[in-house]
């Protein structure tokens, strides 16, 4: 395997892992809120979270480009602090996280819904406060689902293409991921490289989905 291919595989795996870490906090919080709380606008939050699953990824990428671009409402202030997002590895992570989040939230939410309220009530009669109950009862009992959701999000990140190419481009050695690489190689007639990348991405994704399914079954 050539050095380029190895670099792309490594870069993709690392950015997908970072994206998974990035989505974990908000993902768990959203999943818990949707599973356990009634609040005004819940249906809207629910819809927004799932939107990246159905909106064309390129459109999501364009939205991210606007928000995080140098003159965007988020990208502008960050730029002033010397932090560039678009067309850097950060944009790759961001695109992956946004696209993977719905999968994490859906799977984790099912986990929280399975944890019976009664365990939490018992913990409460034993003197535990809400945060301790969440940490010691709710979270561990939902942990398999959360892990399965995180693996699904990770797998989705590995294959992310549409949003990534818009917001991060395909800069060799800087933002080129497996999916984007396959496209770039195929488009420029480098079929052998494209084929190798294809096999590598299948192998990684296969392992991740296999693990995720096993976790979901055991949950």
């Amino acid at each position: 395997m050539s050095r380029d291919i190895l670099d792309i595989a490594l870069f993709t795996t690392v950015t997908a892992a970072l994206a998974t870490l990035l989505m974990l906090g908000p993902g768990i919080a959203l999943a818990w809120l949707l599973a356990r709380r009634e609040f005004p606008g819940k249906a809207i939050v629910e819809t927004l979270v799932s939107l990246p699953l159905v909106v064309p990824p390129v459109a999501t990428g364009l939205l991210l480009l606007w928000f995080f671009g140098r003159r965007g409402p988020i990208g502008g202030p960050l730029e002033a602090l010397g932090i560039q997002i678009v067309f850097t590895w950060r944009a790759v992570v961001l695109a992956m996280a946004v696209m993977g989040l719905p999968l994490l939230v859906r799977t984790a939410r099912a986990g929280f819904e399975q944890v019976t309220r009664r365990y939490e009530q018992i913990a409460e009669t034993l003197g535990a406060g809400p945060w301790r109950i969440f940490r010691t009862v709710t979270l561990p009992l939902a942990s398999r689902n959360i892990l399965a959701g995180a693996l699904l999000g990770f797998s989705r990140s590995l294959g992310e293409f549409g949003a990534t190419i818009v917001v991060a481009g395909s800069i060799p050695g800087r933002t080129r991921t497996l999916a984007v690489g396959i496209y770039s190689y195929a488009e420029t007639g480098q079929d052998r490289q494209a084929m190798v990348l294809l096999l590598v991405s299948i192998a990684i994704a296969f392992t991740a989905v296999l693990l995720s399914n096993r976790l979901a079954r055991e949950a």
Partner: protein
């Protein structure tokens, strides 16, 4: 001995539980057919259900009062609750379950392990325990929180007959040696007679008889 003031109405859908009782007891039994409101009363005392009106107090400490707008949250009620399905935390071992609600400076872990004969179980997973073992661990867990009162919902229900005696002995020792008052949802009149010094007989959400077991249920 504790003074139980249970004076409230609690509606669940079409079902209404109404009680207006004041009882001095070391062990107060709630006795009656399924669906008569026994569990509802226990859950109201634990703070897991909120009445629509009335008062709940133990030894003069108000846990709920509609009039005074008091509703002490379950974590501050100091009631040890052992539900009928026991509900040990499945992801924590026996020791971890027992110390979950430990209130420092009061509960005596070694003493409880000894009293409930749990020393061989401490490292076990709760999923590997028998019905009687679960019940004893749940008792220890509730007692480690140093409760003012212990609420027991049919503690014999999931215990096979030969082992019931052991649980019963433990409960009597909790009552008489640790001096923790009990509220006991009872399965059989025998249990009521053995453990309780007062009983409320319930039917369809109302108290239909009360008094010493021998008077109330014969």
């Amino acid at each position: 001995m504790a003074t139980f003031e249970l004076n409230f109405a609690l509606r669940q859908g079409a079902f209404v539980v109404r009680v207006a009782e004041r009882a001095d007891a070391r062990a107060l039994a709630l006795f009656g057919p399924s669906g008569s409101g026994k569990t509802t009363i226990v859950e109201a005392v634990a703070g897991l259900r909120t009445p629509q009106r009335g008062t709940i107090a133990i030894d003069g400490r108000t846990l709920y009062s509609h009039e005074q707008r008091v509703n002490v949250p379950p974590r501050d009620r100091r009631v040890g609750y052992v539900p009928q399905d026991v509900l040990l935390f499945p992801h924590i071992d026996v020791r971890g379950n027992i110390v979950y609600g430990e209130r420092p400076g009061h509960a005596d872990f070694e003493g409880l392990v000894d009293l409930l004969d749990l020393s061989d179980l401490l490292q076990r997973k709760v999923t590997s325990l028998s019905g009687g073992e679960r019940q004893r661990v749940a008792l220890a867990r509730a007692l480690m929180s140093n409760p003012d009162v212990l609420l027991l919902d049919e503690p014999m229900a999931a215990v096979d007959l030969p082992r019931r005696r052991r649980i019963l002995d433990a409960l009597l020792r909790i009552r008489d040696e640790l001096h923790v008052p009990l509220v006991y949802v009872a399965h059989s009149p025998d249990e009521v007679r053995t453990i309780a010094d007062r009983v409320l007989v319930l039917d369809a959400g109302s108290v239909v008889a009360r008094g010493a077991p021998i008077e109330a249920i014969g």
